[in-house]
Structures are given as structure tokens and as C-alpha cells.
Symmetry: C2
Subunit: 157 residues, 2 copies
DNA sequence: GCTACATAGTGAAGTCACTTCACGATATGC
DNA sequence: GCATATCGTGAAGTGACTTCACTATGTAGC
């Protein structure tokens, strides 16, 4: 006996597209991880930096909400980031329970570098995709993402 | 003082595309994890099942290579899968060091269900994308992935 | 002003995916 | 045969998560 799926898979037109999407997501993820590791970061920690970079100083709770993780987890992420001098915890001016987290100067420049890396990558990646085709591509991407989100709350798989 | 990046970001045309790509990758990843969790699996374990489904019975070493992880890690993944009765380890017929891993019947049907879920998702996701546009989309996806792979070995970020 | 309750952050403990290193059992080249 | 490479696994460790319990503080309501 051979493998368990001897019958050829019935062709589903969109399957190839989804598979390519997964493939790209995987390669992209690996690449991002590598890039971030070169700066001594992990993707989770970089995500926290990124959120602070774009959202400005905020409470740990806010950060947790924004990252979609538990407050407890944010504590750990920040411990590491603080250890590396990328982030500071200060007293919240009005709420003495809360902590205000900000990027240090070093944290800001590391995150800027991350952003520049992203832009470089983007430019490089789409360099030989003609502009009109890129527009269509991006639009489709957005459409599919939107679709996924609406379906996501009760869909299959 | 406000945040550390008061100057507006210089527009890089491809940036929006990359960002959307990341966004989709994230949502897609979350959705896949959810779907796989519904069947009592994790993405790593599902990946192992998937590899066995498509590659047929193989050695743990081979599986490790295919998954791109350490042999030691495969041991752990298989321990869990075996515990759930999805996989069996048998003696290798000619090499007594090696173990031959195969899907059980249960493992096969779970993986089939995974595949069906994928197809459903694909169909659903691209339902309202016209065929010609989908073709272009998929081609661009492939092109970018290829690009990423060649660049990946020495690129920035 | 006090009591009741919600909220902010963290310790403790646990899960899962990974890794490296060391080791025993086997295969293989010469 | 013997050196050497390979197969799988124990031990130990890291990182990202989670839940649960607890302290300190804010916010009503009366």
C-alpha cells in the first residue's frame, strides 16, 4: 500500500493561490525573524517596539490590548526590552497603579532601523513588478484580508 | 514632546503592499491556528501530519529535514502525535537505528479533514475575485516569493 | 468617609516549539 | 575490525505564551 491519499486531489481553482499565500507567508516570516534577530530582537519584542513607536508612550495594559496578548506577557516582553535599554517604565502621572512605557532613544533608533529595513525590503521585493500590476495585487490582498476577517469569526477551518 | 517619529514617513510606493502582505499573513496564521486547534492540534504537529500525508511513511530524520527543524524536535512532536493515536513508529526494515513513521488511519482522516478545510477556505476566500484577476494575483505572489528566496540568502532586514 | 468592586501590574506555575549537547546503538568505509 | 558517521533520545535551556492568585490603587454609591 502506498500513502493514504492515492486518489488525485480534485482541483479547486483557488487552492493554488492559497498555497502560494501560505508559502509566501512562511518565507516572509522567516526573513523577518532573521532581520529582527540581527538586531538582537525577537519578533514578539520587535512587535512591542513597533507598537510603541507608532502609538507613543502607553500603559502596559494598552500595549497588551494592542498586541492582542495577556498583560502578563507584556510584563515579560518589557523586562527583556528594558534590560537591553530599549524601553523605560515610568510612573503614570495620574494613575498610580499604571506604568507608562516609552521607547528610549536607543529603542527609537533601533525601531527606525527596523522601519528602514522594511522599506528596503519592500522596494527590493516589488522592484520588478510593474506599478499597475502592483496596484491590482495590493487591492486583491486587501480584499482577501477583509474577506478573511469577516469570515474569520465563524468560518470553517 | 510627542512620539519619536514626528516627521511624516517618506512614501515608499511598495510599502503599503508589504504591509498588507504582513497583515494578511498574520490574519491567515491566526485563522489556521484556530482551525487546527479545533481538531486538537497545534500548527507544528499539523505540519508534521501534513508532511507525512504528502510524503508517505518516512524516517524521523527525513521528517526533520522536510520540516526544517532539529531531529530532537521531531521526537517531541511525534511523541504527542503518537499519544493521540495519529501516528505510529515502526522499526525500519533495513536500518535498525532508524524509525519509520506513518500516519494511522485516524491520522490520515484528520489530515484529510485539514485538507478539506483548506480547500473550503480557499474557495471561500477568493469567491468574489474574478478568475483573471486571481491569476494575476497568484502570478505576482509566485514572482515575489521567488524574489524573496533569491534575495533571502543575503538581503537586508 | 467607607465599603464594594473593578483595574494595573507581577509572582508562580505550566504548555508548546524550539535549540544544543552528550550518549548509546547501529551502519559503513577501508 | 576499527574508526567514523548517523539515528533517535535524555537533559537542560530559551522564548512566547497562558491562567490563577495577590497586592496596590482607582471609582462608585451611599
Amino acid at each position: 500500500m502506498k500513502s493514504l491519499h492515492d486518489m488525485p486531489e480534485r482541483p479547486v481553482p483557488a487552492r493554488a493561490s492559497l498555497d502560494r499565500l501560505f508559502e509566501l507567508a512562511e518565507v516572509l516570516g522567516a526573513m523577518m525573524q532573521r532581520g529582527v534577530a540581527e538586531k538582537g530582537l525577537t519578533t514578539a519584542r520587535a512587535g512591542a517596539l513597533w507598537a510603541l513607536f507608532h502609538g507613543g508612550p502607553m500603559t502596559q495594559r494598552a500595549l497588551a490590548t494592542q498586541l492582542g496578548v495577556t498583560p502578563r506577557n507584556v510584563t515579560g516582553l518589557l523586562d527583556a526590552l528594558q534590560e537591553d535599554g530599549l524601553v523605560v517604565r515610568e510612573a503614570h502621572p495620574t494613575d498610580r497603579r499604571a506604568t507608562l512605557v516609552s521607547l528610549t532613544e536607543k529603542g527609537g533608533s533601533v525601531t527606525s532601523a527596523l522601519r528602514d529595513g522594511r522599506d528596503e525590503l519592500a522596494a527590493l521585493l516589488f522592484a520588478d513588478v510593474p506599478a499597475d500590476r502592483l496596484d491590482t495585487f495590493t487591492a486583491t490582498l486587501a480584499q482577501v484580508t477583509e474577506r478573511l476577517r469577516t469570515v474569520g469569526t465563524d468560518g470553517p477551518k
